[in-house]
Point group: C2
Chain length 220, copies 2
DNA sequence: CTAAAATTTGTCCAATCGGGTAATATACAA
DNA sequence: TTGTATATTACCCGATTGGACAAATTTTAG
């Protein structure tokens, strides 16, 4: 089995040196380069792409999240692991959205970075449990009893007709009844009627509540 | 080091048998019980809590996601790994919200379940990369350049005064101007004025758009 | 084919909304 | 101390909204 090739991007020299030591006597992971900024890493990736990139977020010029997005776009097979000291929820979510395959905290002496790198290289996604907790805390707990309608968007969607869904989407865009009417080429009265039945079906009393309910249910 | 204790919950007998074999000759992971339904697992947990529970989702009576929520409530230290064959996005999100520490696909011959169990027991969060991709696909990619305002909810929040935020929250609940006025004990005119400046600051033209923008930005 | 559901349009009316303009009071910072 | 931002209230007006009721046409499903 070929060793896993690894790049490290971290602007702090001592961190890079410590990484070099840490991976030096390892057979299965080969640290083939370390960089103080994203651009240097990109250049090297062109010449010799690595399997895994260990990425700090706080970097000069281009930050690690942006760099992750770029790397995933250019090298979809490359695995980026965020390795930083903050577990800011926004940053975690942004990292996940940008395609990071892991998020590990520096100030966690307890973890085995090598094992995580191997797991990620092997097709797993890994995070510190602590990070996962804070990142997933914003996911609402659904009605766990009904597996088919966990987040009830299907229930909602199913209760509305195709036309009503179309109208609801426009309603969410903030359109008035007459604007909606113009868009779907019916009379204002018709648009009003559709909105009316949407309100009834969603059991709300006005379009604001309807819009919020739909957005919260992730209908659009 | 003590071996990791493990329970398996899966209603399919052959799966349980195959697990027994799989973990039989392992020193570091001790499979100390397997159950065909959640209730049996709960009973046993009372007598002897396990470190890790491997949980199918599709179970008779109580499903695995509900069971996960229950277990995390009763035994916060226990680690639940969802082990199932579907990667339905809703189910993944629900599992994460309910505190699962992992989500592994059955039909992935390539993975090393033992390694994952060890990682999870050790305080990591693990998922198949495939699962992660589908689950995180709904997270919007933020403005990656501005680390401080990744999801611009802070930007939004900062531009509004405390009073306006209070009004915005009520607006999102679908309250009318006069209802808002009653709640914060001011005149209807005042409430109207606040709503007006909210609309201006969010650069939208009506309260529906304001509500949607606020909800989308995860302001509430 | 037939019954049910969805789509369409209309009218009336009271309530609500958003914009504009303006004035007063207060608190906080330069 | 002197602004600048915030909070408060008021009035007017046209546009929009939601409820209620009624009815025609089209589509869909049994």
């Amino acid at each position: 089995m070929n060793p896993i090739t690894l790049y490290v991007v971290d602007d702090y020299l001592l961190t890079r040196i410590s990484h070099r030591r840490y991976f030096a006597q390892d057979e299965s992971i080969k640290l083939i380069g370390d960089f103080s900024c994203a651009r240097d890493c990109f250049e090297q990736m062109e010449k010799m792409p690595a399997d895994v990139i260990l990425m700090e977020i706080d970097l000069p010029k281009m930050n690690g999240i942006e760099a992750t997005r770029y790397l995933k776009e250019m090298y979809p097979k490359a695995k980026v692991i965020i390795y930083t000291s903050q577990k800011n929820e926004q940053r975690v979510l942004a990292s996940l959205a940008c395609g990071a395959c892991g998020y590990v905290l520096k100030n966690n002496s307890d973890i085995d970075l090598k094992k995580i790198i191997k797991m990620v290289a092997h097709g797993e996604f890994c995070m510190d449990l602590e990070v996962a907790k804070s990142a997933f805390s914003s996911i609402p707990i659904p009605d766990t009893k009904d597996l088919e309608n966990l987040y009830e968007n299907r229930k909602l969607k199913n209760s509305l007709t195709a036309r009503e869904l179309q109208v609801l989407k426009l309603l969410i865009d903030g359109k008035t009844n007459s604007q909606i009417a113009r868009e779907i080429i019916v009379s204002t009265n018709t648009a009003k009627a559709h909105v009316g039945s949407i309100l009834t079906k969603l059991s709300v009393t006005d379009r604001v509540q309807a819009a919020v309910k739909a957005v919260r249910a992730n209908l659009f």
